[in-house]
């Protein structure tokens, strides 16, 4: 277990700059998730920590060693790949034992370790099988087993769950979390799935175009987004983001107004982006906190535990939440309560939050 410091990390692919100076500090035993859309540089960052990509600039420090010039095997890391990368010709046992065999450890010790880890992951029955005969979830377990056996200082996960179906993904997600609570290793985990990021992370790093948009606890990035991108990326359904203009006692949106007591740092006539999460828009009959706004419902999505109501205010589409038992009729006007305490305002040009 070690802390990891990534300092001003830069990566060029040819003339193209992929990473523009990444700074992340991960403490001992912390579960850090790098999240962002594809092409944001999260996987490249991970692969640079692993030693699979060269470093164009900056430093990576694992424990108290600068690992820039070290080979992957010298870095004390283990990695779980997106497509598992199990050796097809080796049995599960030998897949897991391979790294230990290479370091010429006593056979009995290897056997003991492999069986112990297999027990933890509940794959003892599979030890004699070849990867091709395993299901996706089983392969994922073996890939994790291969990493755990080495007892590394740092675990690296590169989108490990994206090849699994939704149900299995949820299950494996929980298992990874439990495993981390048990082993307490330092983890860097890359995903494009914000739900995975929220559920697993101690620390989330949200990246976009080779830059860090925001980093912090899941709670922090979700409830306190510092940029428009973070606000739109985190959360499902995505935050309602509407172009608006500040009025004296509220905001003007396309063909309508929302009136509320605005804070003093919102200057009148300024163009802004108004953001509010679906959770903070409730059917007025159900929840009266906040200010009521009338809208025409045009779509209801049933999620089972609750419903998402899509409705128009003026020419603006909002998504709000209702009780699962609420029977909303389409094209009918309903009153929704907007909890303005949890509204966000962003600068449309810079994307920065106006607090």
């Amino acid at each position: 277990m070690s802390k990891i410091d990534i300092k001003n990390l830069v990566k060029y692919f040819g003339p193209q700059k992929i990473l523009h100076g990444i700074d992340i500090s991960i403490s001992k035993g912390e579960f850090c998730v790098l999240v962002g859309p594809s092409g944001c540089g999260k996987s490249t960052t991970l692969r640079m920590v692993a030693g699979l990509e060269t470093i164009s600039g900056g430093e990576i420090i694992i424990g108290d060693r600068v690992v820039n010039g070290l080979k992957p095997r010298e870095r004390g890391i283990a990695m779980v790949f997106q497509n598992y990368a199990l050796y097809p010709a080796k049995t599960v046992y030998n897949n897991m034992a391979f790294s230990l065999q290479l370091s010429r450890i006593n056979k009995n010790i290897i056997d003991e370790k492999v069986r112990e880890v297999a027990k933890i992951l509940d794959i003892t029955d599979l030890l004699d099988r070849k990867p091709a005969t395993l299901s996706g979830g089983q392969r994922q377990r073996v890939a994790m087993g291969r990493a755990i056996v080495r007892d590394p200082e740092v675990f690296l996960f590169d989108e490990p769950l994206s090849n699994l179906d939704a149900q299995l993904r949820g299950q494996m997600r929980a298992e990874i979390k439990l495993l981390h609570q048990r082993l307490k290793n330092t983890v860097i985990y890359v995903t494009h799935d914000q739900v995975e990021a929220m559920t697993l992370a101690d620390k989330i790093v949200i990246m976009k175009d080779g830059r860090i948009e925001q980093q912090g606890t899941p709670d922090d990035v979700f409830h306190n987004p510092q940029t428009l991108f973070v606000a739109s990326f985190m959360g499902s359904p995505p935050m309602n983001l509407i172009s608006a203009k500040i009025l004296k006692d509220g905001i003007k949106i396309k063909n309508s107004e929302i009136n509320f007591k605005k804070s003093s740092n919102l200057k009148i006539d300024k163009s802004i982006i108004f953001g509010i999460r679906a959770d903070d828009i409730r059917l007025s009959e159900e929840d009266k906190s906040g200010i009521p706004v009338k809208g025409f419902v045009n779509l209801v999505e049933q999620l089972g535990t609750e419903n998402l109501a899509h409705f128009n205010v003026g020419e603006n589409n909002f998504i709000g939440k209702t009780n699962a038992r609420a029977k909303l009729k389409l094209n009918k006007e309903y009153s929704f309560n907007f909890n303005m305490k949890h509204a966000y305002f962003f600068d449309p040009e810079t994307g920065a939050r106006i607090s």
Partner: protein
Amino acid sequence: MRSAIIADLKKDMQKILNNISNESVPYLFLLPCLLILGSLLSVPLYKVVEYSLYDNVIVQKNPSFVGLQNYKEILSDTAFWKATLNTIIFTVGSVIGHLIIGTSLALLVNTDINPKARTLFRSLLILPWIFTAVVVAVNWQLLLNPFGIINYGLDKLGIISEPLDWLGDPSLAMWSLLLISTWRGYPFIMVSFLSGLQSIPKELYEAAEIDGAGFFGKFWHVTIPQLKPVIYGVALLDLIWTFQLFPLVWLTTGGGPGRTTEVLSTMTFRYAFVNFEFSQASTVAVSILIISAAFTIFYLRNEKSKI
């Protein structure tokens, strides 16, 4: 009631007829090809086997049927056994040479270097395969000539003190032949392995690297197991081809000096077109056929198990 049954019957008949015509359509398309291949293959095949059972075929109008007499003679002929042994040495030696050189070069041209240089090397290294056997044979004859450039070079380097007759010296001829055959045949292995190498997922090498494998570790634990199906198939195919290889041997050593490089294919040719003993030639040809067929069955089984 009855008319309903008849209508049903009619429907069933129609169905069966439809099925037949549907199923026969693909065979109809295959027919021309099957006819041509069949006549081109089966007639000569039949003729060769037939000739091997007669005496004095072709040269006399009324050859006499002798049964397995030709086989008895061939099998008790030491020259035949010498040629068989030579064929095995030549075939196995060539295939091993192809595999070693082909694999090494495939690994080399698969490395991550300047793409232009890589393409250049790949194209250059395939060249031996493109030349016809005659050109290859004549070129190597000139190169290996006692007054050729190889002797000159080795002499200048001080490795040999007098020119060697590479193709004419009984102790060197087979080795020289193996050198030529290796040079000529490695590109097939190289190209096959190269495509095999390119289909190995990059992640496996990365995983091995993280697990602590070096160059040889990665080669042994990732490359070889992943290439295994290709290696097996390609080596068998090479074995089948080399086993019956004729022009390269005939045009370089002609089976000589003496009979030191005589292989079954050159023996067949010598019987047929030098000695005009077509029955004996056919008999040797049938023995080649039997052994090749055995290899081919192995190959086909291997291919089948891959599916």
